[in-house]
């Protein structure tokens, strides 16, 4: 297989446009609004912001999106991948429609978060960082959402569940029937 990064100039945009025209247009519009130029250091200052926006739009950062960002910001793919893999907020894999995040911050840990994670794992049959085969749920852990008074805390998408017990896990999952 040939490498991904050369000889594909602007192909990334074409390909993305075909796959996801609306999302791609939104991302391109955002990038065009940035004060980009030939100063790579200055462009780099906009990189994390761009990746945040791209992930909000696409849900994750597929190779084509990375390639597009690379071309527009004039930053190499390898560097962009280095940034994506460094920050836990970014992911280059598609994730489930609903993001379950069990808080494993210290407050939640001492209040039994591990048992909640285990319960989700056994109910969903997946490990942390994985998505169910039907693409419905993604299971992740995060560190403190700042609602420690409600520990242990589970976040599903933007909804916060507090004082979660292992028994509540199936009721939580049942809230997401789509």
């Amino acid at each position: 297989m040939s490498c991904d990064c050369c000889g594909k100039k602007e192909k990334a945009l074409e390909k993305l446009m075909k796959l996801e025209p609306k999302k791609t247009t939104e991302l391109v519009a955002f990038i065009d609004s940035l004060p980009l130029g030939n100063d790579i250091d200055a462009n780099r200052g906009c990189l994390i912001e761009t990746l945040h926006r791209a992930q909000t739009i696409f849900g994750y950062l597929p190779a084509e999106v990375q390639q597009l960002v690379s071309e527009r910001l004039k930053i190499t793919r390898s560097e962009i991948y280095g940034v994506i893999s460094f920050y836990s907020y970014f992911t280059d894999k598609p994730i489930g429609r609903h993001k379950i995040n069990v808080c494993c911050g210290t407050a939640c840990f001492v209040k039994g978060a591990t048992r909640i994670v285990d319960e989700f794992k056994s109910k969903l049959g997946i490990k942390e960082g994985e998505t169910t085969p039907d693409k419905k749920f993604f299971l992740g852990v995060l560190r403190c959402v700042g609602a420690c008074s409600l520990a242990p805390v589970v976040m599903v998408d933007d909804h916060v569940y507090g004082k979660v017990t292992p028994e509540m896990v199936s009721t939580i999952l049942a809230d997401y029937q789509d």
């Binding site: 460094f86 210290t106 560190r143």
Partner: protein
């Protein structure tokens, strides 16, 4: 409207005060925790009741930030113009009509009234001997964070006015230095000195950064300030910018705090409109602007050099200091990095003076510290206490003691970089130095209380797991050393540790402390070292007797049935692997070979007949 001078601002405040209604305010706590606890239902009920009973000219409902009473959210406070107040906790929508009917005359039956445990050193003497003194949180929970007018009524932006209308930049740094305000982000470095270093650099581009990365899991005081009083941070950054000769401020905030981001954006726009940010602020010729930059989930980015790399769009890897950021920081320009809470103190210091600030707290650490109290304590929430308060006062008086009547075991301060403190140091007055002396550190202010059910080896392992996840990988002691520490702790928790493991654990921890590149690696062994020192007996029980005294380490736990068993059979019916046998009304037994240590029987037994060891 643009404000162009301090007298303009004072006139505006006077006008706002005058036009203020004499309605009773209903302050509704709507931080992240209040919302998560169902605060919006209470808001709806208040609006409905006010509409249906025509209470519009009696009450004014004000959404505010976190009052610090997270344990009894949803919370509301009724406050009249004379300052009289009633705080209700655990409020339900059903209670609202009765509460509003009673007004200031007293609390209706069936409601929970919460005592106010704080005073405001800026405008009242501590007459009711409150344990908390709120300076950084002076407005949080009192004002609508989305209205700049509310902030102005609390003397907001007057410190900036004072600075721009009559103080030289050097005088500002000097005042902050005299107040001896020390960094609240962990290390406690004198803020005035940091500003002086940056100011002393040659003229040119300089940056003022606010560290709002709040990475310590279990700490949420910076979030409360940003959500509840964003203007105080903007005002202080602008003052700092003037002091060091910078025209641009950057707030580095974690993406996990969407509400704080929204509130900051609103505040920045409002400050622009009124002329507290932008060009020629208050007609002084001074320009200053503030941008937001988002973190992306990396604890190490709280470290200032890593933070700077992250703002530059790189991997957040720390670099060696010196050069310090104050000399060479963002894009190689002099940069001041200060914590949110540090900034939150600045305006009050400028307005009230250094001597006033030093009347609160201890001689070496003046002022207050906000702690996020969490874990096994009854009153989980935020407390702001004068430096020098004892842990006993914080945990047992303000915190209401240990939940479920269990016994106190230890409290972890400083998060994953700190250590645990035990009963014997509960009466130590805490400040930067004393905490260090007893083997922990101030850190950013997370305070996690642990009780007899917590295994300290497992806690140390939890923190090390965190550090391994968060190590940036740049230097070997941290990347590999911490992983080895984690593996050794795992071995101990799984019953595979030997006395030699304990020796190696301590040695390696000391080596990492001495050799790691940045603050993360240098402090990551602290939880191990402090538990090794304070809870040697627990480690020994794990390695010598293969026993976990707290009954936490699953592979070492044994469930057995004692003589209290009445033979009800509940345990046997609930055991997922049918490990429990016994005739009805006879004492049951657990087959240890079959038992998977799930703990269900322990929870289901109504007669305390199951022992967990």
């Amino acid at each position: 409207m643009t404000i162009t001078s301090l007298s303009d601002l004072k006139a505006l405040k006077a006008r706002l005060d005058q036009s203020a209604s004499d309605k009773v305010k209903i302050l509704m706590s709507l931080g992240t925790c209040g919302l998560a606890a169902g605060g919006s239902k209470v808001v709806d009920a208040i609006e409905e009741t006010m509409a249906s009973q025509n209470l519009g000219d009696k009450y004014e409902a004000v959404p505010v930030g976190c009052m610090g009473l997270c344990y009894c959210e949803p919370t509301i406070e009724l406050r009249d113009n004379s300052g009289k107040s009633i705080i209700y906790g655990d409020v339900t929508a059903e209670q609202i009509p009765a509460i509003l009917k009673a007004g200031m005359s007293g609390a209706p039956a069936g409601t929970t009234v919460v005592e106010r445990t704080w005073y405001y050193p800026e405008d009242e003497a501590n007459t009711h001997k409150a344990l908390q003194a709120r300076i950084a949180l002076r407005n949080t929970g009192c004002i609508n964070p989305e209205l700049i007018e509310d902030y102005i009524r609390q003397d907001g932006y007057q410190a900036l006015g004072k600075v721009l209308s009559g103080m030289k930049p050097a005088e500002v740094s000097q005042l902050v230095l005299e107040a001896n305000l020390r960094g609240r982000g962990g290390a406690g470095f004198p803020t005035g000195k940091k500003w002086q270093f940056a100011a002393a650099q040659p003229k040119g581009k300089k940056y003022m950064i606010c560290n709002a990365d709040e990475g310590d899991p279990g700490a949420f005081m910076d979030r409360a300030v940003l959500e509840g009083d964003p203007h105080s941070v903007l005002e202080a950054m602008t003052i700092g910018g003037y002091a060091i000769g910078s025209d641009i401020g950057i707030i580095y905030i974690r993406a996990e705090y969407p509400l704080a981001i929204t509130r900051l954006r609103i505040a920045i726009d409002q400050a622009h409109e009124m002329g507290f940010l932008g060009k020629n602020i208050l007609n002084s010729g001074f320009d200053f602007d503030i941008e937001l930059k988002y973190g992306a989930g990396a604890f190490v980015c709280g470290e200032e050099t890593a933070l700077i790399h992250s703002v530059e769009g790189r991997r957040g890897e720390p670099t060696f200091k010196p050069p310090f950021p104050a000399v060479q920081g963002l894009w190689k320009h002099p940069t001041v990095v200060n914590n949110v809470e540090t900034y939150a103190n600045v305006a009050a210091i400028i307005r009230k003076g250094a001597a006033w600030f030093r009347t609160v707290g201890t001689a070496g650490s003046p002022g207050t510290k906000v702690f996020a109290l969490a874990g096994k304590v009854n009153h989980v929430g935020l407390v702001e206490v004068p430096m020098g308060t004892t842990l006993r006062d914080i945990i047992f008086s303000l915190g209401g003691g240990i939940s479920k009547g269990r016994a106190f075991k230890a409290v972890q301060t400083g998060g994953p970089s700190g250590g645990c403190i035990t009963t014997k140091n509960l009466d130590t007055p805490i400040d930067y130095e004393t905490l260090k002396a007893i083997g922990s550190m101030m850190g950013s202010g997370g305070m996690i209380v642990m009780d007899e059910d917590d295994c300290m080896v497992n806690i140390a392992r939890f923190f090390l797991e965190f550090t391994c996840d968060e190590s940036c990988g740049k230097c070997t002691p941290c990347r590999i050393g911490n992983r080895r520490l984690y593996e050794m702790l795992t071995d101990i928790c799984h019953g595979k540790g030997t006395p030699q493991t304990l020796v190696e654990l301590r040695n390696l921890a000391l080596v990492i402390k001495d050799t790691a590149l940045c603050g993360l690696g240098q402090t990551s062994p602290n939880p191990v070292l402090s538990t090794l020192t304070n809870f040697a007996d627990e480690y020994e029980a794990h390695v010598n007797e293969k026993r976990c005294p707290a009954g936490v380490c699953e592979r070492l736990v044994r469930f057995t049935i004692n003589e209290k068993c009445v033979g009800c059979g509940v345990c046997a019916r609930n055991c997922p692997v049918t490990a429990i046998t016994g005739a009805t009304k006879k004492r049951h037994v657990i087959n240890q070979d079959k038992c998977i240590k799930c703990g269900i029987c322990f929870e289901k037994c109504m007669f305390k007949a199951i022992d967990k060891q």
